[in-house]
């Protein structure tokens, strides 16, 4: 592991997923590969470029405040893995 290695347990905890030992190794190396790829950006000289929030210099993309009807409840929860009373059912969680 080099000094930029990923703390895979920390990432998994933030994502609330459990990983097997095999997955830990696999994902560590894949994520490190991604970081390695992004490091190519470090080679670009940006010293003369202003920091920007977006690649396009477009501002104030706004819509008027007009409301339309939403989903009917069946459609809204159609793709939920579990549902009850027109709501998405999840394992009991402690209020965060």
């Amino acid at each position: 592991m080099n000094k930029d290695s990923i703390d895979i347990d920390y990432v998994a905890r933030l994502a609330r997923i459990d990983l097997s030992e095999k997955e830990r190794r696999l994902f560590s190396s894949q994520l490190e590969g991604i970081l390695e790829y992004f490091k190519k950006l470090d080679q670009v000289d940006v010293s003369s470029v202003e920091p920007m929030a977006h690649a396009f210099q477009v501002e104030n993309v706004l819509r008027e405040d007009e409301s339309v009807k939403g989903f009917d409840p069946e459609t809204a929860v159609k793709h939920a893995a579990a549902k009850r009373n027109q709501m998405v059912q999840v394992p009991k969680v402690v209020e965060g």
């Binding site: 396009f56 706004l62 409301s67 939403g70 809204a76 709501m87 998405v88 394992p91």
Partner: protein, 484 residues
């Protein structure tokens, strides 16, 4: 050892709009579950957010009401976390370029008694940023159910550093903030409907110590007085823990309003790493001079500025202003009526002492009642011009006017309530009362002037309250003098 407390508040206010902050589906409370949703709210693949102009304008307005610096350019960031209330696994919020920076709120502390105004002071703000509200979790024994109706409602988070020092200051700050939001037509701030929510962080330290103590965050407070009660409890708990030789840990505690205690929820180590980054789906917003100017023209007089004006211009007492000031609609009603009859104090008394209790009895709001400012002004005018007595106004006119919506002059006419200023009509009645009551007359002649009140009462009774009391007083005195 003496301890002192430091309180910081994080207040979330739902900004009133027709549609959600990043999509056109409507907002609301108490609707059928998951019907205020669409692909953007539920974070379906490919759905893209488009910013609601009204949400931005109202937030700028809030910033102006709070005397914040409005950012020239404000932008959107993703706050990443995995929790079922957030269907996208991130919340669109603002990280390093919030819409409002700094600001201050004038507060009024509770006075020594209900009739006496408390001290005023200013509370400094850190910032206010705009974000999307998240869905609501309903907890059951074996599962939790998520309703995403609330998700995407525009939400302003208004933050203070730990600059509040007592539960009363926190209470006063929340009241002041709510008044500003109501004045600015931003929100009704009904905490029971979740329109305003508040988290507090609180620490204590021995007086004289430089560093702040261990910070505890409190959640689940559902009313402004709930915040005050939770802080009273928590500050005492922390002080007692330290006094007993214990130590405090950084933690999040919940408020249990039924047991009046805070309880441990989680430790700070479990706190999140949100990995904020600019949202590539949304463009920054530039707020130029012209836009600012247009919004600034809509900023109303602030509540405590209005209070000072009422003291100075109308000489109203605190017992009256404390009822009027929190309700801008009532203030406007008062000002209209006061201007129409030029008797602000009398108008204020009628509103606070009579109108509000009638409204309360019938469970009506001012706008639902038949009473207009012209009714109150008309009634006050009739009394001031001596057409009816205050008593007749109260007993015979007000109730009728409240029920029927008839103008007071018409009621006085129809019921024949006009006060009698006719000396020719009153004199024989006065004479009759004098003749029938030699005892009290004797007393008056012997110098007991108070005995005249009995005779006056008899005359008023005989005229069914319609006689002008001042005139009766004069006439009785003259007739008795003649006798003596």
């Amino acid at each position: 050892m003496e301890y002192e407390a430091f309180i910081g508040l994080e207040v979330h206010v739902q900004v009133r709009t027709q549609s959600k902050i990043f999509t056109s589906v409507g907002v609301g409370f108490g609707c059928e579950p998951n019907t205020l949703t669409d692909p953007v709210v539920l974070g379906f693949p490919g759905a893209l957010p488009v910013l609601n102009k009204e949400a931005v304008e109202k937030s700028i307005k809030v910033g102006m009401l709070l005397q914040s610096t409005i950012s020239e350019v404000t932008k959107w960031d993703r706050k990443n976390y995995f929790y079922p209330d957030s269907p996208k696994n991130y919340q669109i919020s603002q990280f390093d370029q919030p819409i409002c920076e700094g600001g201050k709120v004038e507060i009024e502390l509770p006075g020594p008694s209900r009739n006496v105004m408390g001290e005023h002071k200013w509370i400094e703000l850190t910032r206010a940023h705009l974000e999307e509200d998240v869905g609501k979790l309903n907890h059951f024994d074996n599962d939790s159910l998520v309703d995403y109706n609330r998700a995407g409602t525009p939400l302003l988070e208004i933050v203070t550093e730990p600059v509040l020092r007592t539960p009363d200051e926190a209470w006063a700050y929340l009241n002041a903030l709510r008044m500003l939001m109501v004045y600015g037509d931003i929100s009704d701030c009904d905490m029971e409907k979740g329109q305003m929510r508040c988290d507090a962080n609180v620490s204590v330290r021995p007086v004289g110590q430089e560093d702040l103590g261990v910070k505890v965050e409190i959640k689940n407070m559902n009313s402004i007085s709930g915040v005050r009660n939770a802080l009273v409890y928590e500050i005492e708990r922390q002080i007692q823990t330290l006094k007993g030789g214990g130590s405090l840990v950084q933690e999040t505690r919940g408020w249990d309003a039924s047991k009046n205690v805070t309880y441990h929820m989680r430790f700070k180590e479990e706190s999140h790493d949100y990995r904020y980054f600019p949202d590539p789906d949304l463009m920054p917003v530039r707020i130029d001079e012209d836009w600012r100017g247009r919004i600034s023209a809509t900023i109303p007089e602030r509540p405590y500025d209005r209070q000072r004006r009422y003291y100075d211009d109308f000489k109203l007492p605190f017992t009256i202003t404390s009822v009027l000031i929190p309700d801008p609609g009532l203030c406007e009603f008062f000002e209209e009526a006061a201007e129409a009859c030029n008797k602000p104090q009398q108008v204020a008394n009628w509103i606070v002492n009579n109108l509000l209790s009638e409204l309360g009895n019938d469970g009506l709001s001012l706008s639902e009642s038949k009473i207009t400012s012209a009714h109150i002004a008309g009634l006050v005018k009739l009394i001031e011009e001596g057409v009816i007595s205050k008593n007749i106004a109260k007993e015979e006119v007000f109730g009728e006017m409240f029920t029927s919506g008839e103008m007071p002059a018409a009621i006085v006419e129809a019921k024949g309530l006009k006060q009698s200023n006719d000396t020719g009509e009153l004199e024989p009645i006065c004479q009759k009362v004098i003749d029938a009551n030699p005892g009290p007359v004797e007393e008056i002649l012997c110098g007991n002037e108070k005995a005249i009140n009995f005779l006056k009462g008899q005359v008023m009774k005989a005229t069914r309250g319609k006689a002008n009391p001042a005139l009766v007083d004069q006439m009785l005195k003259a007739l008795i003098d003649k006798k003596g």
